[in-house]
């Protein structure tokens, strides 16, 4: 009896000790959780129970002058995979992805990625449109395959593909504009991301009704309306690309400007790139040659020389000029592109036949300083003010340092380097009755509220008198006459003023001219008696005997005709005055 009493008492004690022990452990743990780690657990609980998300602001669209979309943003996707889950089924997954995504993805590369050893995360493909990505994911899920995931992103698309690519530019992987209008107007196009925080059920992730939430409003990016006409742009792109191919040129440019407003309505470049599908993204394609590429313009510059002379009253279209058979200046022999003895040309004849020697003779009436000052007034050596990234100043040596040869060659566009847009601006002044304005490619921006903010045009300034501009225009009309250098540029029913250019190409490596390599061009505007559009065509390094009139002239004709037709510019009905070319 007493022995069993002792046993039960001991058992009681053991039990008590165990209970005390267990509760002590609980107590210590409780103290640890509530006393020591309380704030950490509380923070974790809040984190589990709240959902923070940024609300990405959509990037603004780039529109043409009529509101057609040139660049827009859509939902995109990045597909990722967990190789640990996918390595076994890699071929099946890769086959489905290849089927759904087409040439965007390489079958064998994808298999390698899906089998990446010792990895739990790989990117399969970035920047696919959401609809394509979702289709691929659905197909994978349907085949009972797992391990492929998606991340949301915004994707920039260019519905026109290559259309105006060099002007529009493109965005990099993080969605920042890195070329063209995308870069120049990046701040305007990018909005401000918003943020929202709200409480969710930690298990289901479903939002708890009426619980706390904070929302920072998102401000969408502004739309940028360009001055481009989409259809004309497409036509010019196509026509220029054909011309570059047919003449086997290195590259070509075509720019059309409204001479009244200096708005660029079309700016084409070939070869170009397609930022929509990412093809042709080589530097030589993505460079915006209209503003970044400097070259010697050649004879188109004669119009500027003549305008300077006419402004000083030193020349009229019928001024007689004795043109020698050749000239030797500072040891250089200068001739015309055709062999001739001493000939008698009028100033109009010099332009119509594009005589280098005639231009030199005429320009000798100006001092270095006067000529240099006129060239500066015409904007050479200074950016065109078009507001596009990476613009070059061109190269115009200071008049004080000119040699005799400089004076002679600059008069006909050699020994001076320009950008195409500088050339367009300068001749635009002649078309615009002597007043020069700055070319523009963007006319307004529009916010999500629909409020439009116009971008004011820079004031135009007079560079030569109205009479001087009219005189040069008359000379330029002779160029497209049947006996001029570019009859192919004439548009039936219209009066067209123009000028050809065939410039020697400079080897960038040596700085010397390369025999047999030219930059051919044609600059013209119409109607000559009331100019509305100016078009400039440049073809670099075409086959060796290509000339400005014969190669660039037809391209000018086609693009200019289309511009006049699209904008409803009817012929004025007046006749070109007959100007004598010889005396």
């Amino acid at each position: 009896m007493s022995a069993s009493k002792t046993v039960s008492r001991r058992r009681l004690r053991v039990c008590l000790a165990m209970i005390v022990g267990v509760f002590s452990v609980f107590g210590v743990r409780l103290f640890q959780i509530q006393g020591l780690d309380a704030s950490a657990y509380a923070a974790q609980a809040i984190a589990d129970g709240t959902n923070k998300s940024t609300v990405p602001a959509p990037r603004g669209d780039i529109l043409d002058r009529n509101g057609a979309e040139l660049a827009t943003s859509v939902d995109g996707m990045t597909l990722t995979a967990d190789p640990k889950m996918t390595s076994a089924d890699a071929p099946q997954i890769a086959r489905i992805l290849r089927q759904e995504l087409g040439s965007r993805i390489d079958y064998f590369d994808t298999i390698d990625k899906l089998r990446t050893p010792d990895s739990r995360f790989v990117y399969l493909i970035r920047d696919v449109p959401a609809w394509t990505g979702k289709k691929a994911l659905t197909a994978i899920a349907k085949a009972n395959l797992t391990g492929v995931f998606s991340e949301k992103e915004t994707l920039r698309t260019y519905p026109g593909g290559k259309l105006a690519a060099n002007l529009l530019g493109y965005v990099n992987g993080t969605g920042k504009g890195v070329a063209g209008i995308e870069q120049e107007y990046n701040k305007t196009l990018t909005g401000t991301d918003g943020a929202s925080t709200y409480e969710v059920d930690p298990n289901t992730g479903v939002r708890i009704p009426m619980a706390d939430s904070t929302v920072t409003a998102m401000v969408p990016g502004r739309d940028v309306t360009t001055t481009i006409d989409r259809d004309l742009q497409w036509y010019a792109d196509q026509r220029l690309a054909d011309a570059v191919r047919e003449s086997s040129s290195d590259w070509g440019l075509a720019i059309t400007m409204d001479t009244k407003t200096c708005q660029i309505v079309q700016m084409s470049q070939a070869p170009t790139f397609n930022a929509d599908d990412g093809t042709g993204m080589a530097d030589s394609n993505t460079v915006s040659r209209a503003v970044q590429n400097v070259y010697e313009p050649g004879s188109v510059m004669k119009t500027v020389t003549m305008a300077a002379l006419a402004d000083q009253g030193k020349i009229a279209s019928d001024t007689p000029i004795v043109v020698p058979s050749g000239m030797d200046i500072d040891g250089f022999h200068i001739g015309d592109y055709w062999e001739h003895g001493t000939i008698h040309l009028t100033a109009a004849g010099v332009i119509a036949k594009s005589s280098n020697l005639g231009t030199i003779v005429a320009s000798q009436q100006m001092s270095n300083t006067t000529m240099y000052n006129y060239f500066r007034r015409f904007g050479f050596g200074q950016m065109s003010g078009v507001n596009l990234p990476g613009e070059s100043d061109g190269i115009l040596k200071n008049g004080k340092d000119w040699t005799k040869a400089n004076h002679a060659t600059i008069a006909f566009g050699q020994g001076v380097s320009v950008t195409a847009l500088q050339m367009v601006r300068a001749v635009g002044a002649i078309a615009n009755a002597g007043k020069m304005c700055e070319p523009s490619v963007v006319s307004s921006t529009t916010g999500a509220d629909g409020k439009q903010v116009k971008i004011p045009a820079a004031p135009s300034k007079r560079v030569v008198s109205k009479d001087a501009a009219a005189t040069v225009t008359r000379m330029m009309e002779a160029v497209t006459a049947p006996d001029g250098t570019a009859p192919a540029a004439a548009i039936k029913g219209y009066r067209v003023a123009g000028k050809t250019g065939t410039a020697w190409r400079v080897d960038p490596a040596t700085g010397r001219y390369i025999r047999g390599q030219n930059t051919v061009s044609f600059m013209g505007f119409a109607p000559a008696d009331n100019p509305r559009f100016l078009t400039y065509i440049v073809l670099d390094k075409p086959y060796s005997n290509a000339g400005g009139g014969s190669t660039a002239g037809p391209v000018f004709h086609d693009i200019m005709s289309m511009a006049l037709e699209r904008f409803g510019v009817a012929p004025t009905g007046s006749k070109s005055p007959k100007v004598a070319q010889t005396w």
Binding site: E69, V206, Q238, G493, P571
Partner: protein
């Protein structure tokens, strides 16, 4: 206090005399029936219970409805996202079909050619401006569309 009443009250006091009806009577006290409230208890209880249960049930219903709506909202949100993606896809298809390249390609396929010489008809006096020329196959500058 009257002396009689004081005596009666003091009955349970230090002297502790036994209760005697005579003394009570002398003091003017008598037994009365307990006061019965005229208001009945049952309706009050019913009202309180009803209000409580309505509140409770209402709360449960409201909470359930809100929760259900929250699920519904999430479902609709994802449906909206789905539809937005689809709309973007369709917009894109329309854009592609409307693009000048596509229109030109189809026009060329129909045997149409771009006009090479612009001319206008002025309606006011039926005058032809410019020199119209028939656009003939072969007499054109764009023969195919480069993709």
């Amino acid at each position: 206090m009257s002396p009689q009443l004081a005596r009666a009250v003091n009955m349970g006091g230090a002297a502790a005399p036994r209760f005697s009806p005579e003394a009570a009577k002398a003091a003017g006290l008598r037994l009365v029936r307990p006061v019965r409230s005229r208001a009945r208890k049952a309706p009050f209880v019913v009202v309180v219970m009803t209000v409580l249960s309505i509140g409770l049930v209402g709360l449960i219903v409201m909470s359930t409805v809100l929760q259900a709506q929250s699920f519904e909202a999430q479902k609709l949100n994802s449906q909206a996202a789905e539809l937005e993606t689809q709309q973007q896809l369709l917009t894109r298809e329309v854009d592609k079909l409307q693009s000048p390249a596509n229109v030109a390609r189809r026009a060329i396929a129909y045997g149409m050619v771009p006009n090479t010489n612009p001319a206008f008809l002025r309606l006011s006096d039926a005058k032809v401006l410019g020199k119209p020329e028939a656009a003939k196959p072969g007499n054109t500058n764009i023969r195919s569309v480069t993709p």
